[in-house]
């Protein structure tokens, strides 16, 4: 966090100054490690073992926050008889189909939830589809808000008991053997985490892509969620699990997704095989209880925002205008589509996959096979210039004269040359004022897409396939000398308006009958009262620490999600020290420094009547209001592709055998078995070392926004690897010298930093060396400093839930000296491939 989010880290430093104990768990000893109380070096790709052992520690020693767990989690809920755990099946959950490598999740359901569970696609309709939307959180239609429970937690099939059995093998000994963290270190961590949880205290977990970029990444977060729920650390001040996201509006890019599987507000894109009409779609996409029970209002309001008056009850609000998915259309599938010639045209907007995405060679081979490519950026990034300076040109795999791709480089406006909102890592929308016009041909992406839309519409006719475009609401006011579309008008559309065009105050005003329109239901209210709420800038000195009048957080300006859980079931603060949102019986309202993440007037005593829908189906003691049962899920009955509970699997490429189960790696992981994407064999002596990639404070992502800047480039001028003195001695590496790192994909060269910060891990009888590489360098990008592309080393193997690549743990070999050039590089890789 000190490394990649230094300004956010001020709060950690401040907490530490006030007595908080801070642990840093990372394969890499970073600037964060240097400034915490305790650093634990962990083998990349083994975090579930560690968190699992903490869960086991809590469960075995009865250290859970029992009152919280009983009231607010699904610990007591009884699971279907059909369910079989990894304990029973040696690393598999029930429902696994070895043929397709996917799970049928039917057997994971709660007892009694036998209704229409997920039906999915790609041939076999019952297989869990990846990259699901959050509507899965609603557990599917046919479920109720009150599944059978055992409040004594003794039923062998209650979640609590399943958890106990499942995590029993996650012991400190396993942690030592797989993670490389000693039992003493583990004990210190376990003591600190449990001692600092409960009524009086809370513990927070903070993670970043070190947890997500794994073939089992979602389950990393899940394991933290289980631990935090058991300890009562969710929905409370100083608790929670914080994702530290790496880009200015990457949260916004998920909320208003430029993601294939989502519509704005985590609404699922319709699927050709699963959904026929709107009703069918809504019926299939979740249950009727909890806030997702209002999804008709969300979806209809979105369709109204897009197709306006043309979207009516009669025509299903133009639900048919939405294109349909039939499987994985994610980034890596798209790249394969490019290599196969199916994808002809490609827009790359403020992104640099030639450097930033796994298996850079596959990315560039895809680019070289396009008809046309549009790159919009501040600099001519490597993705735009691949045809003249890609590594494949040097090796002869590509020839500039043979590449047919037509490339348009469109210079972009910078963040000060346009107005609009970023959504930060805390879900906070902040409006940026425009300081000045962009220079020369530079334009905002808003300008580009708006005018491109207009030009496209001029070229289309009334043809059936053109109607969704022609009827699209696309009439934003134009401003300034470049005729920029008004970003405020777009934000107003996102924030929602009623039939008279008046901005909506809150998502509770959204209607399923077409009388409201809203571009993103979770952002509803961002333009309440006709005021750009995201532009609010009440100075911090003039408001309390929650600072509710600085920007606007979704949903409804709530700063801590599920904050109903900060009070006990009766609505009283768990403790004076941790008082946050609580029930004011006198006024009959929830109150506190934050906006309650609950119906403000729903008393703790509220119990839903039979057959209640949506939020009305949740009791006054159910804080997790997006869930169909209002509970925090220790066990996930549906929605995940690789199991209802986290289980440790080794990364795709690992030098270590998985000693927890008979399964080496995640059985549901997605591999791409193609010649462009070879994998290092597991446990291979040719690739004995573990590598992990990282960032540096001084650079940004693929370097397009940092390597061209002298003030940043001088601070870290060269790609380097960090190796331990032991590994340096073993291989013959010299501090300041050169090294070549080799995988089946390719080999790259870099400078060497020999440092005692990296230590060999002693795991049982074996020693594992880890190599750390920052990934900010590329062959061009207008960089004052350039270097080989670290992501060229990473294989494409994906988490089955969200299709994120495993770039945080791989295997490699390392050689002293610079890499061979040209054909000789290919020869080197050939030698490695054939042992």
């Amino acid at each position: 966090m000190a490394e990649c989010h230094p300004v956010g880290y001020q709060w950690v430093m401040e907490a530490r100054e006030r007595g908080a104990k801070v642990f840093h768990i990372d394969p890499r000893f970073s600037r964060t490690s240097a400034t915490v109380d305790r650093y634990l070096q962990i083998r990349a790709g083994t975090d579930i073992v560690l968190i699992g052992a903490l869960i086991n520690h809590v469960l075995t020693n009865g250290l859970d926050f029992r009152e919280y767990v009983l009231a607010y989690t699904n610990a007591a809920t009884i699971v279907s008889e059909e369910f079989r755990d990894t304990e029973d099946l040696d690393g598999l959950f029930s429902g696994y189909d070895p043929e397709s490598g996917r799970y049928d999740t039917t057997s994971w359901a709660y007892e009694g939830d036998t209704g229409k569970t997920e039906e999915m696609s790609e041939g076999d309709p019952r297989h869990a589809e990846a990259a699901g939307s959050d509507s899965y959180g609603a557990r599917g239609a046919g479920s109720t808000a009150t599944p059978p429970t055992d409040p004594t937690l003794s039923h062998p099939r209650c979640v609590y008991q399943i958890l106990k059995r499942h995590f029993s093998r996650y012991t400190p000994e396993r942690v030592a053997e797989l993670c490389g963290i000693s039992p003493e270190q583990f004990a210190e961590l376990a003591e600190a985490v449990t001692a600092n949880s409960g009524r009086e205290r809370t513990t927070a977990w903070v993670y970043s892509v070190g947890w997500t970029q794994h073939s089992v990444g979602v389950q990393y977060i899940r394991s933290a969620a289980i631990l935090q729920l058991l300890l009562g650390n969710m929905g409370r001040p100083g608790g929670g699990i914080m994702a530290l996201r790496g880009h200015a509006s990457i949260q916004g890019s998920t909320d208003i997704p430029t993601l294939f599987n989502l519509l704005p507000g985590y609404i699922a894109m319709p699927h050709a095989h699963r959904h026929d009409g709107l009703d069918h779609y809504l019926d299939r996409e979740g249950g009727d209880t909890g806030w997702w029970g209002n999804r008709r209002a969300y979806v209809v309001s979105l369709l109204k925002a897009w197709w306006g008056d043309g979207a009516t009850e009669e025509n299903d609000y133009r639900f048919d205008y939405l294109p349909r998915l039939t499987g994985d259309h994610g980034h890596y599938a798209t790249v394969m589509g490019q290599i196969d010639g199916k994808v002809k045209g490609y827009f790359v907007v403020g992104e640099n996959p030639a450097v930033g995405s796994a298996n850079g060679k596959a990315q560039r081979l895809g680019l070289a096979n396009l008809d046309w490519l549009v790159v919009r950026d501040l600099m001519v990034v490597e993705t735009a210039s691949f045809w003249k300076d890609a590594p494949e040109i040097e090796t002869g795999e590509l020839r500039t004269e043979d590449i047919a791709t037509e490339v348009f480089f469109m210079p972009a406006a910078s963040h000060v040359e346009k107005e609009g909102t970023f959504t930060n890592t805390q879900r906070l929308l902040q409006w940026r004022e425009k300081a000045l016009d962009p220079p020369d041909d530079c334009r905002s992406d808003l300008w580009f897409y708006y005018h491109l839309g207009k030009l496209i519409r001029q070229r289309l006719g009334g043809d059936g396939i053109d109607r969704p475009v022609m009827e699209l609401t696309w009439d934003y006011p134009e401003e300034g000398r470049h005729r920029d579309p008004s970003a405020e008008a777009v934000l107003r559309e996102i924030g929602g308006v009623d039939a008279d065009g008046r901005p909506l105050a809150s998502l509770r005003e959204l209607k399923p009958d077409g009388s409201t329109s809203c571009g993103c239901w979770i952002y509803c209210g961002v333009y309440a009262d006709g005021v750009n709420q995201a532009a609010r800038r009440k100075p911090r000195g003039e408001q309390g620490p929650v600072a509710p009048e600085w920007g606007w957080a979704w949903p409804a300006n709530r700063r801590i999600l599920y904050n109903r859980a900060s009070a006990d079931p009766e609505g009283r603060p768990w403790s004076e020290r941790k008082k946050y949102v609580y029930w004011d019986a006198e006024k009959g309202r929830w109150t506190g420094p934050d906006v309650p993440d609950f119906e403000e007037d729903k008393p703790p005593s509220y119990r839903p009547p039979e057959g209640a829908k949506a939020q009305d189906a949740l009791a006054g003691t159910d804080p997790f209001i997006m869930q169909s049962d209002g509970k925090g899920w220790l066990y996930v009955p549906s929605g995940l592709a690789d199991g209802p509970l986290p289980a440790h699997y080794e990364p795709q490429e690992s030098p270590i055998r998985n000693t927890l189960y008979g399964r080496q790696s995640n059985p549901a992981r997605r591999t791409i078995d193609r010649p462009e994407n070879p994998y290092n064999p597991p446990l291979s002596s040719r690739f004995p070392y573990v590598f992990t990639t990282s960032r540096l404070t001084e650079h940004h992502t693929a370097g397009g926004m940092s390597r061209p800047l002298p003030y940043l480039a001088e601070l870290q001028p060269a790609l380097f690897c960090e190796v331990s003195p032991e590994l340096a001695a073993e291989v013959g590496l010299e501090n300041g010298g050169w090294a070549t790192v080799v995988t089946e994909r390719t080999a790259i060269e870099m400078r060497v930093l020999v440092t005692g910060r990296v230590r060999p891990l002693r795991l049982g009888g074996t020693t594992v060396h880890q190599i750390v590489m920052p990934y900010h360098w590329g062959y061009g990008g207008g960089g004052l400093v350039t270097g080989d592309v670290v992501n060229d080393l990473s294989p494409i193997v994906l988490d089955p839930n969200v299709y994120i690549q495993e770039s945080k743990a791989g295997t490699c070999d390392i050689l002293p000296g610079r890499r061979p050039r040209g054909q000789a590089l290919l020869a080197l890789i050939e030698r490695y491939r054939h042992g």
Binding site: L259, E406, G519
Partner: protein, 185 residues
């Protein structure tokens, strides 16, 4: 004039009792020094474009140029502080290497060419329309899909919400579904 010059001559000022290491040594320029932010024509309240912490920035503009970017002390998130990248924001928007013109590489071309913005926009619109037509998929396995797999998009995560919104809206209407983002990666 000469009198002015002589009376400002530090040696003369020293003789008049001023300290040669303090006031006597000051030049006219030194006497006139002020922080340049005081002269800004406008100040925009902005947000750092790098990571997702969302630090507040104040953007000072003088004579149509950014003269300074620094932290916004009012921000409850950042309290006016910035990291090295945030502190380099002015250089990000003003450095001479920044590419500000449309560039075009024709098929099989070996060099960039210049293109004017309007022409480029027209050419891109033509290609979208053509490729969409050529790769249109009305049905897939007997199911209506109304889409094209011929056009894809990958967005960075420094895009504004409004930009992402228009992108998703336009692509979806066009039937382009392979719309992806750094958020996946």
């Amino acid at each position: 004039m000469a009198g002015g010059w002589i009376s400002r001559w530090p040696v003369v000022r020293q003789l008049q009792g001023e300290d040669g290491r303090r006031e006597a040594a000051r030049s006219r320029r030194t006497d006139a020094l002020r922080p340049r932010v005081e002269e800004a024509d406008t100040v925009a309240r902005s947000v750092c474009p790098y990571c997702a912490v969302g630090c507040g920035q104040l953007v000072y503009v003088k004579d149509g140029k950014v003269s300074q970017i620094e932290g916004d002390p009012d921000s409850p998130i950042s309290r006016g502080r910035l990291c090295p990248k945030g502190s380099a924001s002015k250089q990000l928007v003003t450095h001479p290497g920044r590419q500000t013109h449309v560039l075009y590489r024709r098929p099989y071309g070996t060099e960039w060419e210049r293109l004017d913005l309007e022409t480029a926009m027209d050419m891109i619109a033509d290609r979208v329309v053509r490729t969409r037509r050529e790769t249109w998929e009305q049905t897939h396995d007997g199911k209506e899909v109304r889409r094209t797999l011929g056009i894809a998009s990958l967005g960075g995560a420094t895009l504004d919400n409004e930009e992402n919104y228009l992108m998703k809206k336009l692509y979806t209407a066009l039937g382009a579904i392979q719309v992806e983002n750094q958020a996946r990666i």
